[in-house]
């Protein structure tokens, strides 16, 4: 290990050495803004002073962090700065490089919250028409939360066994300093969403005060959630003021547990419907049996009726045959009667014939041809 007492530093080396040590010393400093300048580059240079002592501290916040911090610094504001000291080598001046800036006191935080909420509301960031429904049967879930604490376990324990594929990004969620890591996590999840690797994004944390939830009222984060490629569930506990990230999300739940239940809802409904399947199958089977019985009945009824019709037809024909046989005049021929015809017409009376007429007499077993003798005719009956 380097023994600094032995080393002879150049000025530049010493300043670099100091800055290394300072960078490792992340601290939080509070003070009131007494001077302020925003450079063309977007970096903000300001001075804070102690209220109690007479100490002053020059500060810098780089433009990227300033845009992210969500605070519009003004002279007179009381701020909490998180960052580290730094010596600017060309001037040898010490200043404080602020990574994040937060307002001091609930009152100031509330005022900033209200103002931002009003502005975003007017833009339509929270409009109900923008809310997307959760997809049916979501499977791949992206989760942003802190792995420390009970929140992630509550969430996972309440998810239900529907084959979810969970992709968790651990992030700081406490205080204003959480804004940058949360933005980074959302950016990573955005890439996954754009590649179709997640169906829903879930952002969860436990309850907290306005100060504790500051990051979830950060404008950049709110906009990132509002424009996320897939539906977002925000399960962020809160006291009175709803975190703006929750208002911008597609679905807001009061707890991580409720977020888990929301994901499982369509799956639960599908499983409930599946439970009905055996009953429905039973009903269908019953219906098949009923139709089959109806068909059998129809078949038997039809065949019975046709059989009866055929039998009836046979009876009618048999009866007709017997009747005709009995009433056939030629039946009398067996008893010795005959049918006499003249010119094909039946002779009914002796007066119908005259001597010389040719006659045909039909007997039982044939026809006899004859001629009327002179003196035959009316007198032949004697």
């Amino acid at each position: 290990m380097l023994d600094v007492r032995e080393k002879l530093f150049t000025v530049g080396e010493f300043i670099a050495f100091l800055n290394e040590i300072f960078k490792a010393q992340a601290v939080r400093v509070t003070g009131e803004v007494c001077e302020l300048k925003r450079a063309a580059s977007g970096h903000v240079y300001f001075t804070v002073k102690d209220k109690e002592d007479k100490g002053v501290l020059d500060c810098i916040i780089w433009s990227r962090n300033y845009e992210l911090c969500g605070v519009a610094i003004e002279v007179g504001m009381e701020l909490i700065l998180s960052g580290h000291p730094n010596v600017y080598a060309p001037s040898g001046r010490l200043s404080f490089v602020a990574d994040t800036v937060e307002l001091v006191g609930e009152g100031a935080l509330k005022k900033a919250y209200d103002a931002l909420k009003k502005r975003l509301e007017a833009e339509g960031v929270f409009a109900p028409e923008r809310k997307r429904p959760l997809p049916d049967y979501p499977r791949r879930i992206g989760v942003i939360t802190s792995m420390k604490g009970a929140v992630i376990h509550d969430f996972q324990n309440n998810l239900g066994k529907f084959g979810f594929v969970i992709s968790v990004l651990d992030s700081r969620v406490e205080g204003q300093q959480a804004a940058a890591p949360l933005m980074k996590a959302v950016a990573r999840m955005r890439r996954e969403a754009e590649e179709g690797m997640i169906d829903v994004l879930v952002v969860i944390r436990g309850g907290g005060s306005l100060e504790s939830l500051q990051a979830f009222n950060n404008e950049a984060l709110v906009r990132a959630i509002g424009s996320f490629p897939v539906p977002v569930i925000a399960g962020i506990g809160h006291d009175q003021d709803v975190p703006l990230v929750a208002l911008a999300a597609d679905l807001m739940t009061s707890t991580p547990t409720a977020a888990a239940h929301a994901l499982g809802r369509t799956w639960e409904e599908a499983f409930a419907k599946l439970q009905q399947v055996p009953y429905l199958l039973g009903r269908i089977e019953q219906e098949f049996r009923r139709v089959r019985n109806d068909l059998m009945f129809a078949r038997d009824s039809m065949t019975n009726q046709v059989e009866q019709g055929i039998a009836h037809g046979k009876d009618v024909i048999d009866y007709a045959e017997r009747f005709v046989r009995i009433h056939d005049p030629r039946r009398q021929l067996a008893f010795g009667y005959s049918i006499m015809r003249r010119d094909g017409r039946i002779v009914r009376s002796a007066g119908d014939v005259a001597p010389g007429d040719r006659l045909e007499t039909e007997l039982r077993d044939g026809v006899v041809r004859s001629r009327v003798e002179p003196g035959g005719g009316m007198e032949s009956g004697r």
Partner: protein
């Protein structure tokens, strides 16, 4: 099957023939019944007419018996197709 139900011309013709055959059979039975009624209604039988009626009735009975036989055979085939339970 109604003659118009099938799109197959052969099936349509067969169905039409079957239907007119069925109508024919009914008509014949009706004619036979008419002849029997005539006999019943005669107080004094006219032999000449009776012979004509008998001749006609015999012919009707003969063809009806044949047709009934055909129908019975068709029915047996259909019943066999329908099968048992």
């Amino acid at each position: 099957m109604s003659p118009k139900a099938s799109k197959n011309p052969k099936e349509r013709n067969e169905a039409a023939a079957s239907e007119s055959g069925t109508q024919d059979f009914k008509k014949k039975l009706k004619e036979i019944a008419g002849i029997l009624e005539w006999f019943d209604s005669q107080e004094e039988l006219d032999v000449e007419q009776a012979l004509e009626k008998v001749k006609l009735a015999s012919e009707l009975i003969k063809t009806s018996k044949k047709r009934l036989g055909e129908l019975e055979n068709q029915f047996r085939e259909i019943k066999a197709d329908l099968g048992e339970d």
